[in-house]
Symmetry: C2
Subunit: 251 residues, 2 copies
């Protein structure tokens, strides 16, 4: 029998500020609760603290809204500067309604408001953007943890996305390092010798969702340690999880 | 610090046949690896074994395909009887292409081929359908485990679904018992006193995804024990996770 997979919240990470050494904050908090990183661990870090450490703030006072942003904002009683920031982060608008813009971000992710967020930020006039390159963010955290602890961990940057067809948000992976986000079972057979039907399993999203079970939404637990899972190693990218439009039967 | 959440595969469950007492098979397998169910545990059971125990088999030899099924099957070099079974399980066809039918099932779930599956089934001429009422299936398993062990557990029936926008399949909940599938944070505030942006978290899907980390796809591990998660208790239904079309911004 394989041992259980354990999911442990890394608690006591202080409020993250621009320029903070996030790997060190994570490693210090982990050590203070007796957690020592091991080769093969998966560390899931929520997007918000990554963006904050990388200084991905926008001061609304500096934003000049475009005519489109002004018009959209007027229709929905929104702040035109906030709408402008969302549009700047957007490659393609999927849909707009009820004051929500479903966007394809410059990375290719489809989510509400291009991931631009005002919650969990001190002061009312500041927005937080997604990292410029979440895979690179994950690699930096992975390298930092290896430097500090010697352990070769995989890192996932997670964010909370809505989805079609199903109610409620779940946590997904927007950046990965030291792992493959998808396990490819193509050609593999089941216990009866049949080829498997669902052949591409997005384990990075499953790990991100598992981590949300301990981070929750109201606690300050922005990082999670997952141990005991045989993570598929390799140099993957979160962009592998972006489904190409011409292959997307589900839209 | 809250303790970790642990995810343990319940191994050694034999090949499930129609009429089997699934709660007893699960409880016996758990006991033989030293697992005793406790109040508050979450037991995730994969759809396939639930359908098998409930006798949700269709013998292809008994199926008379409709003209539509014959036509679709001819276009894609499929078995018209298999297509016919998919159509019978379908309330609405979302899209058809490349031999795959994205269906809204009679329950309201959107998935490929209405969840009709041939893999993991002995013999080539038999298909397996989704349970008629997966919430009722979950309740029966929950009641059975309580009868056998005395423990008040929550139960999730899981299945492997594709999704729009993102590559790869993840595990989702198609039936629940003894829990609420979605945590509602509406009006809750974060550590900075701001209202939360993502206010409905689909924890049932997150738990199903977490379970997939130990069930995998090629092993015979159809049930999982999740311990240490403060599952939201209540009499929920998986139908709460079906997003109403008029409120679906993401389609």
């Amino acid at each position: 029998m394989a041992g259980p997979v354990t999911i442990t919240g890394i608690e006591g990470i202080p409020e993250v500020r621009s320029g903070d050494d996030l790997p060190r904050l994570i490693a210090t908090a982990a050590a203070s609760q007796g957690l020592a990183f091991q080769d093969g661990d998966v560390v899931v870090v929520t997007q918000k603290v990554v963006s904050k450490a990388e200084g991905r703030f926008v001061d609304l006072a500096t934003v000049e809204p475009s005519p489109l942003a002004v018009e959209l904002a007027a229709n929905w009683e929104k702040d035109a500067r906030h709408v402008e920031v969302v549009l700047r982060e957007t490659k393609r608008i999927v849909r707009m309604d009820h004051g929500v813009i479903i966007c394809e971000t410059r990375h290719g992710f489809v989510c509400a408001n291009a991931g631009v967020d005002a919650s969990n930020v001190p002061g009312n006039e500041t927005l937080v953007l997604l990292p410029v390159d979440p895979d690179a963010s994950a690699r930096r955290i992975r390298d930092g943890i290896r430097f500090l602890s010697g352990a070769d961990v995989a890192v996932i940057i997670s964010d909370t996305f809505g989805r079609p067809w199903r109610t409620g948000y779940t946590e997904v992976a927007i950046g990965v390092a030291g792992m493959l986000p998808i396990i490819d079972y193509v050609g593999r057979v089941d216990t009866q010798g049949r080829e498997l039907r669902a052949t591409w399993i997005c384990v990075a999203d499953e790990l991100a969702s598992a981590a949300e079970l301990v981070t929750g939404k109201v606690n300050q637990v922005p990082a999670t340690l997952i141990r005991g899972y045989a993570v598929p190693r390799g140099e993957g990218s979160a962009l592998e999880m972006v489904r190409q439009a011409e292959r997307d039967m589900f839209r």
